[in-house]
């Protein structure tokens, strides 16, 4: 439930709420929801339909896109509509937004406001980080996502290391011939590591397309998936790191490559 002020220059205005939608929301008991939520709310048309929130009837006056809720649907409305729905008194509120004239003073201001015992104060950055960390570490969805990523890493690591190990082990006799010919082992190690590098790079190149594709699909069904540069760089780095570690693991099999295995 997001009850916000509806003025043109309100702090924390939701950009998806156009001035037209905001005008409609000034009427008490009206809400806006994301169009992708209609299905799970059992609605067909949405606009002008009436729904119940906590036993109180409200009317949908508009739809937005790209603000699909992770657990329950987001409900956008005016502060005036929100208070009774949340059973809050006129003098109660959850968040207050304030802007410093000089953004550089935001940190200091937040620190000073923290001194009051009956509230917390955060800068926009801190609050954003705090919300994301809360979502990631304290909610089931976030934890599930974390485990999925961990599982993906684990499976990916095992698959790459096994593949590289098997590829190296399959050529043990060939490497043994080179060993007999007096070629030092480090040459072969370098070759295995070079292979790991190319496998990692190829994996990354193969993954970029699908990553953007799925982000686009998610966008179409109403979930914003951000792919900022740092995230792409980090996954690229992690993938390369994993490939190289797998390569190092594959080097173990090279130790078995002794010319003696060629003699019978």
């Amino acid at each position: 439930m997001i009850g916000c002020r509806l003025g043109d220059d309100s702090l924390g205005a939701i950009s998806e709420l156009t001035s037209e939608l905001r005008a409609k929301l000034t009427e008490p008991g009206t809400i806006v929801i994301d169009e992708s939520e209609l299905g799970r709310l059992g609605l067909t048309n949405g606009i002008d339909e009436t729904v119940e929130i906590g036993g109180q009837r409200v009317r949908i006056v508009g739809l937005v896109r790209g603000l699909k809720g992770i657990a329950a649907p987001y409900v956008f409305c005016s502060v005036r509509t929100a208070r009774p729905l949340l059973r809050m008194a006129e003098n109660q509120t959850t968040f207050l937004l304030a802007r410093c004239d000089n953004p550089k003073l935001a940190d200091a201001a937040a620190r000073r406001l923290k001194a009051y015992s009956d509230m917390s104060a955060y800068t926009a950055r801190e609050f954003s980080l705090r919300s994301r960390m809360h979502w990631l570490t304290k909610t089931k969805a976030g934890i599930a996502l974390g485990y999925t990523a961990l599982l993906g890493l684990l499976v990916g690591g095992v698959v790459t290391s096994q593949t590289l190990y098997a590829a190296t082990a399959a050529s043990l006799r060939e490497y043994a011939v080179l060993r007999a010919l007096g070629i030092p082992r480090w040459r072969m190690s370098a070759m295995v590591l070079a292979q790991s590098f190319w496998v990692g790079l190829a994996g990354n190149l193969l993954a970029v397309g699908p990553a953007f594709f799925f982000a686009w699909v998610a966008d179409v069904v109403g979930v914003k998936v951000m792919l900022p540069g740092w995230l792409l760089a980090a996954s690229l780095g992690i993938t390369m790191f994993m490939a190289m570690i797998s390569g190092l693991a594959a080097l173990r099999s090279l130790r078995l490559s002794e010319p003696a295995i060629l003699l019978r």
């Binding site: 006799r173 011939v177 007999a180 010919l181 030092p184 060629l262 003699l263």
Partner: protein
Amino acid sequence: MNGSETTLRARNVSRSFGTGATRTTAVAGVSLELRRGQFALLMGPSGSGKSTLLAMLSGLLRPDEGHVEVFGQHLWSLSEVERERFRRKHFGFIFQGFNLFPALTASQQVELVLRWGSALGRHESRRRANQILSRLGLADRADLRPAQLSGGEKQRVAIGRALVKQPAFVFADEPTSALDWKHGASVIELLTQATREQGTTVLVVSHDPRIEPYADQVFQLEDGRLTCKTALTPT
């Protein structure tokens, strides 16, 4: 090129495997000499110790006793790294299987030895690889991978890999056993050609009597002992 210079001298080399009751003596007190440009054949029944002896003569397997001297250098007094360098400089090997990398072309298999073993550049390695492949009759096969080559062609690539650095010695363990006789004979002819043209000392291990006529000298091994040395051509 039929010099009489002795290039390899083995004295009393022995080797056993296992311990206690299961201990078997694979090679027992073998002495022999090889000369420059010689094509020597080491024969004997299966399990008589041929591979073990070849491995000790070529610096791949340390003898329990005895010593091996190549160009006056005691092979088994060298450190591991020095022996590796010695093999790199002087020894070529051919083994029974073809042992070619599935992903590399014929020419790349041969190039690898020069680029990694002789630190030659890509261009020069490729030139020499193609040169030796042409000499082995594989000019139009240079860009094919093992899966596209016949058994005889694969073994010729393996010979190219052994000969490309023009080693003083080539050691071959059963180089023809995976081939029919037509291809086997051509392998042996290519090796005798190397003895004539480069003065290479070639030691072939085989139990195939059809190779005998090509050999300058035949060593017969039985239960790890040399039973007879026949010099077929006077040296």
